[in-house]
C-alpha cells in the first residue's frame, strides 16, 4: 500500500495522485494510531505503583469509614442529621441506591460498619486483594449515596481510586497475598496488561479532574484578579495554620493564584512529557501539601497526592521501595 500501483507497474516517473497520497497518509495514520493505542493501553506493566496506591487509598478509606463508624448514630442512625427518609427524598431524581436506606438500628449499623472496616483493612494490607478491592469500591459507593450532604472532595477521590484499583492487579506486590505466595514458593507475578489499563484510566481521569478544576476557576473573578489565595487563606472555617501574613505580599498572593490556575488547566498536557512531568508532580505535592497543612483538609490533600502517584513509573517506585526496604533491613540488623 505504501507504493502506488502505478509505480509497481513500472512507470517510475509517475507521481502518485493527490487522492492516492491522501489515502496512503490516512492509512499510515490509522496504522500508527492503532499501534500507539495498543502500546498505550495494552503494553503490560508491573503493578508496583498500583500496589503503593492501594496501600495509601486503602488506609484513607479505612480512616474515612472509621470516622463514620464512631459517629454512626449522628450520620446513619434513626436521629441522624439527615434521616433515611430525607436521604431517599434527596435521591429521588438521581440514579442511586444504597442498602443504608433499609435499616438504621444501631446494632445493624455496627455490623455493616465493621464489615466495611474489615474490607478496607484487608485492602490496605493486600489480603485476598482481587476480591476485597471490588468490595471496597462498592461499599464506599453505598456510604456515598447515603451520606449525601456531608461529602466533599475527599469522598470523590476515595471512590475514584477505589474504582480503578478494583480492576487492577494491585495485590501483586507489598501485600499479604504476595507474602503468602513467596512462602509457598510460587513465582512472582509478571507485568500485566490489566495494570496498564487501570493506570491509564487513573491518569486520564485525573487529567479530566484538573482540567475542569482549572476551567471552573477561570470563570471566577478572584482567580483572574489574583486575589483567590487571599480569600482561601482568610477563610476561618478552612484555616488550620494562620497564613494571613501573606496579605503584606500581594504580589505573592497573585502569583500563587495565577500559578494554581495555569497548573491545573495545563496539567493534562504537561504531565505526559518526561521533561515536564517531574515539575508538574512537584507542584502537585506543593499545592496539595499546602491544602493539607494550611486549609484544614489533610485527608483531601493526602488523597490528591496519592492520585498523582499514578504518574510514577513502576521502576521508580520499585527503586524507592527497595531502597526503603534496604534501609529498614539495615536498621533491623543493627
Amino acid at each position: 500500500m505504501k507504493n502506488s500501483k502505478a509505480t509497481k507497474a513500472g512507470s517510475v516517473d509517475s507521481e502518485p495522485s493527490l487522492f492516492q497520497a491522501a489515502t496512503d497518509a490516512a492509512y499510515r495514520w490509522c496504522v500508527d494510531f492503532g499501534s500507539d493505542w495498543d502500546n498505550f493501553w495494552f503494553a503490560p506493566r508491573k503493578a508496583s505503583t498500583l500496589a503503593l496506591m492501594r496501600i495509601c487509598a486503602g488506609w484513607m478509606l479505612f480512616y474515612t469509614h472509621f470516622i463514620w463508624t464512631i459517629n454512626a448514630s449522628e450520620f446513619l442512625g434513626p436521629h441522624a442529621w439527615i434521616t433515611r427518609d430525607v436521604s431517599q427524598k434527596m435521591a429521588e431524581q438521581v440514579w442511586v441506591w444504597t442498602y443504608f436506606w433499609y435499616f438504621d438500628h444501631p446494632l445493624a449499623l455496627l455490623a455493616a460498619n465493621l464489615v466495611a472496616l474489615f474490607i478496607f483493612a484487608a485492602m490496605t494490607v493486600g489480603w485476598k486483594t482481587r476480591y476485597v478491592t471490588v468490595a471496597a469500591w462498592l461499599i464506599s459507593l453505598m456510604y456515598i449515596h447515603r451520606l449525601q450532604g456531608s461529602l466533599f472532595g475527599l469522598d470523590q477521590m476515595n471512590v475514584f481510586l477505589a474504582m480503578y484499583l478494583a480492576f487492577a492487579p494491585c495485590g501483586d506486590r507489598w501485600s499479604v497475598d504476595a507474602w503468602l505466595r513467596n512462602r509457598r514458593g510460587q513465582p512472582a507475578p509478571l507485568a500485566k496488561t490489566s495494570a496498564t489499563v487501570a493506570t491509564r484510566l487513573l491518569q486520564i481521569h485525573l487529567c479530566v479532574i484538573y482540567l475542569f478544576g482549572g476551567i471552573s476557576k477561570l470563570q471566577g473573578t478572584m482567580w483572574r484578579d489574583g486575589s483567590a489565595v487571599w480569600f482561601a487563606i482568610s477563610n476561618l472555617e478552612y484555616q488550620s495554620l494562620n497564613m494571613t501574613w501573606l496579605v503584606y505580599f500581594p504580589w505573592l498572593i497573585a502569583a500563587l493564584s495565577h500559578a494554581t490556575v495555569f497548573w491545573e488547566t495545563f496539567y493534562c498536557a504537561l504531565v505526559w512529557p518526561a521533561r515536564t512531568r517531574p515539575f508538574v508532580l512537584a507542584i502537585a505535592v506543593c499545592v496539595h501539601g499546602g491544602i493539607a497543612l494550611f486549609l484544614g483538609m489533610p485527608t483531601f490533600g493526602f488523597i490528591m497526592i496519592v492520585a498523582n502517584m499514578a504518574f510514577l513509573s513502576p521502576s521508580f517506585v520499585d527503586a524507592v521501595g527497595n531502597r526503603v526496604a534496604g534501609l529498614m533491613g539495615r536498621k533491623a540488623a543493627a
Partner: protein, 282 residues
Amino acid sequence: LSKRTAHTKQPVQDLPERAASRLWKPWQKWVVSVLVAAHLFVVFWSPLAFNSRPSPEEASPLVMTLMGIVEPYADFFYLNQGYAFFAPDPGPSHLIQYTVDKGASTETPIVERRFPGLHRQFPRLYYHRHFMLAEWWNAGFEPPPVAETPQQFVRRRELYELLKESYARHLAHELGVDSVTVERLRHRQPSPYEFLDNEIRMGIDDERLFEVLSDDLPPQLENLPNESANPERRQDSPLLLPPLGPVIPYDVPREVVPTPGTLPESVPTPESVPLPSAESDS
C-alpha cells in the same frame, strides 16, 4: 491490534517481563477498548455538563441531551461531578446557628450556638463533615449558578425545608429538648483592605463578618411555587434568580457592612433584577 504490538515505535515498558506475560487476545483488546472509550466519555461529559451552562438562559442542547443518556451510569458510580474545588471563587463559609428555647413558657434562649465548631468537633474530618452539612443546606436555598426551571426551584426549596426539619430534629434529640430553631449564617472573609486598614481592622473572626441569612424569598419569587398563579409561565423556561448579596470588591475602600442603600448603582440589588416575564417567554 495485538499483531502490531511488536512494531510499535515506542519502547514497551518492562520489556523483559512482557515476553513471558499473558498478552491479551485481539478480541479482548477490542472489547476493553470500547468499554474504556465509553467510560472515559462519561468521565469527561459529566464535568462538561456542569460547565455548559454559561448563564441561566443558556445551556448546550448537545451536552445536556447526551448527559441525559449517560446520567444513570454517572450518578451511580459517582462520576457526576463538576470538580470545581474552590471555584469559581473561594466564597464565604456558611454555618448553622441554632437556638434552643426553654419551652412554651418563656422565649428566653438558653443555648445559642454555631456549628461547625473546631473546639467541639474533632478530628478535623469529623469537623469537616459538619461544615459540609451546613454548606449543603445553604446550597439548597441559594440560587445555583445553572439554569433552573420553576419545577426544579420548587423541588430544591422542598429539599431545603426537609433538611431544615431534619437538622432541627437531630439537634433537639441530641440536646434532649422539644424544639430547636436553626438559621443559616454566612461568614465572609475580609478583603485585604478591611484586614489592614487601621480604622476598620477586621480580623478573620470579626463578628461584623457574620450575617444571619433570612429564609424569606424576594417579593418577585413568593408566588412562584404556585403554578396556577402563573399559568403563562412555560414549565421548562429557565428561572433567573437574583443574587443574594453584593459582590465584594477586592481592594477597594468601602462600607464595612454594605447595605442596599449604600451599594453602587452597578451592583444589582434583589429588587432590581427582573424575572423573566410571561411575555418574554412567549
